[in-house]
Symmetry: C2
Subunit: 97 residues, 2 copies
């Protein structure tokens, strides 16, 4: 299994509507990319100080399936249209489990 993990912080100018649209658009991807075995996305719960603001955890059966997701046009469109315009920083890891 491959577990893809990415954390974001947003720009100060990012609006609540823009942040919510990221979730709305990402949650459409499992319907378009059947390689996604599990997909959890959302904003930080506010328990701790100093956290990043958003997380995506996506599970795949194989590296090949992860690459289908990574390079999928609908995923790339969400990144280009909704994430990059409000992105301040990004941290990612892929785990082979």
């Amino acid at each position: 299994m491959i577990r893809h993990i990415v954390l974001f912080t947003w720009t100060e100018a990012a609006t609540d509507e823009q942040k919510a649209t990221v979730t709305t658009e990402l949650r459409k991807l499992p319907g378009a990319i059947p390689q996604l075995r599990s997909y959890t996305v959302g904003g930080d719960a506010g328990i701790n100080q100093g956290n990043y603001e958003y997380a995506v955890v996506a599970d795949f059966d194989s590296v090949e399936d992860y690459l289908v997701y990574r390079d999928h046009p609908q995923h790339q469109a969400v990144i280009a249209e909704h994430i990059k315009p409000i992105l301040a920083s990004r941290a990612a890891v892929q785990l082979a489990l």
Copy 2:
């Protein structure tokens, strides 16, 4: 459910043995902290450039259970003795799912 996600990068001076010890020690925690429902830890798979180097994803039934893990002496000892000495940067999010 609370999903706790944390990504690390290591210092340039960190040795392979020190990095491997982080995994060895973290994997002892589910035996000591029954609140851990799922626990995946490990180094980046090397698929993409520019990634962080290490990830922890821990699932809990509740915020209270997550706090037991966060503040547990055995967890705090792993952080103090094995993670902090080689830690360069850290990014974390808790998701309420």
